[in-house]
Amino acid sequence: MAITEPTISRRGLARLGAAAATIAAVGAVKTAAAAETSGTIKVGILHSLSGTMAISETTLKDVMLMLIEQQNAKGGLLGKKLEAVVVDPASNWPLFAEKARQLISVDKCAATFGCWTSVSRKSVLPVFEELNSILFYPVQYEGQECSRNVFYTGAAPNQQAIPAVDYLMKENKVKRWVLAGTDYVYPRTTNQILEAYLIAKGVAKDDIMINYTPFGHSDWQNIVASIKKFGSAGKKTAVVSTINGDANVPFYKELGNQGLKATDIPVVAFSVGEEELAGIDTKPLLGHLAAWNYFQSVDTPINKTFIDAWHAYTKKPTRTTNDPMEAHFIGFNMWVKAVEAAGTTDSNAVIDAMLGVSVPNLSGGYSAMMPNHHITKPVLIGEIQADGQFNIVSQTPGLVVAQEWSPYVADTKDLIGDWRAPLHCGAFNVKTGHCTAGKKA
């Protein structure tokens, strides 16, 4: 093989020049085109359509498109049509930040609905804060955040985990606990909170077993066996699962195969919804639980309308609905209401107008946007049924207000988030009276 690097010939130089010029021209035209379209209000959709998170996030893109279509059928917003701008950040966290920047500064989106994993949210957070735009985040998460530019329509730990544990303690008289999670921030924080909560309720430290596995862990033989062993100490045992995503399928399969029935050791999960169950044979899982703020099986007229519209839109009567979809439903309607109240899509005006906005949720009540940028939600506990739906066995009598700063983590127990005047602060320390972070400049 020759040693030389080929030098560019004159002809080659000309070709290279021509190619470069074309690309530059195309780029310029595209940028110009993007800047031109006024007359519509752009809504950004920042969900992964490929990669590991596509399984969960593609549905959210579809539901957003449906909601935008429905709003346009009602006449749009402020007299203009809504236009969806869809991008694919491909489960790549730096790409999330890049796409967020593109949606805001190039496409000039008035608001963005997106993200799923905490990493993706943390990666786009600086972009939204720097460019002062709005993000609606629909997924249950670990809390410990309260940004001025984000509206959190998913559950904080006290709107999901704590009521689930209370239910198990009361209903099944559970005395021994396995906290099994994927090794990342949401399960770690949730387990930290739960451990502190259980100990405060009198559970001995020996009666709590905490275990972490990597993403996508597929060989659960050992862990399920150790759960069985832990449960053979004579006290009623339950598993609180913050196992995320793909790993749930082999976990439940192994549970079923090793004969761990819900009547022996019930498993309550926080990241398993109708969408995830669609990929599992649920017959051996009868009776295992999940805690959410919404189930497809909720029996209300508004939910039925939503599900029918969804089936008509996707042309597939078997598509399931789940909690993050409801979160986008609530978030989108809140945004529309706030924009109408403010009369403009300008971020500052809309952010101020969002506080206190109240819209119907799909379980028959209303959800309100609180000053901490989180919404009030009911907590439902459901048992898995053979058809992949949930049988609702418990519901909080009222709505639960989110505690975005956990009282069980030493550094945040004195913090509150309140974006109303005069505080305007995401992390206000009530003891010292100082705003520690996220203060509006």
Binding site: E5, I8, S9, I23, L95, E145, G438
Partner: protein, 364 residues
Amino acid sequence: MKLDRTAYLTLGLTIGIPLVLALLNQATPAGSALHVPTYVVALAGKYLCFAMLALAVDLVWGFAGILSLGHAAFFALGGYAMGMYLMRQIGARGVYGNAELPDFMVFLGWHELPWYWQGSQWFPFAVLMALIVPGALAMGFGWLAFRSRVTGVYLSIITQALTYALLLAFFRNDMGFGGNNGMTDFKDILGFNIQADSTRSALLVLSALCLCAQYLVARFVVRSRFGKVLIAVRDTESRTRFLGYRPEAYKLVVWTLSAVMAGIGGALYVPQVGIINPSEFAPGNSIEAVIWVAVGGRGTLSGAILGAVAVNFGKTWFTGVLPDYWLYALGALFIFVTLFLPKGIMGLFAKRPGKPVAILEAAK
């Protein structure tokens, strides 16, 4: 050092375009037709950092015949070194307001900095770590591998094992590097606000300068006597050994050099994208780096730069324009290039007959 037409062109474009972009971003007001949005500046900086990684890969693959499927590990290690420095710079402005510990340590319940974080608050230390850590790992790994004469596919697979093991290790929250969330929410670098336009432009120009420097170094290496032996090792290792040279030593030197180059790329990458995360260690990233070099033209340093910029630009464009189908486009691109452009894009622009004169010339 002689610079031929290709080199001038490469250097010119690599310095020229970023300079123009930076100037237009800083000098023209927003809203004017000539204004380059900050978004483009950040993007260009990212492309240049990837180009550094591609250059590193081309150095070992195009000239030493080592196909590394784990080079992104060195890139990521350099990134983490810089990331640690940037995390320390946040100080008390983090979410938990803790001046000593980064946010993720507070939330994990740690009370003091682990020993391996000591010193990361100084910028020179961070730069040093970005050079030393990838270099040391490369040297250790390379010494073991080349000494045992692991070659070809086997070497490629164990480089993949290396990066995969690092991926798993850094994903663990217990490791103290931020776990799956990685490090983010950076505030400033060397006192400058990391999100300011001026900082971004400065970083872009700095990346361009580093890339040019690396290009020149690489060129120097491959055109020197050392480079000749290296190419001989690439083409027929046994024969070179029988001629009296020690291929292990040559491979080790260039392998370590390339790791350090990748580390520098990573260190400049992190302030520009604002996040470092274990998924940078993913084997897929390393394979993509190899694709960049293949697309640009393997064994032609300019090709590596060209390929990195072209493919990443394509990716940015496709994920915006065809969000549902861009993977088809990317996959098709890889297949097309390997089948029809074995010499990469540079092959299209090269002088038709590539005369093998370099040896004779150097001998004169």
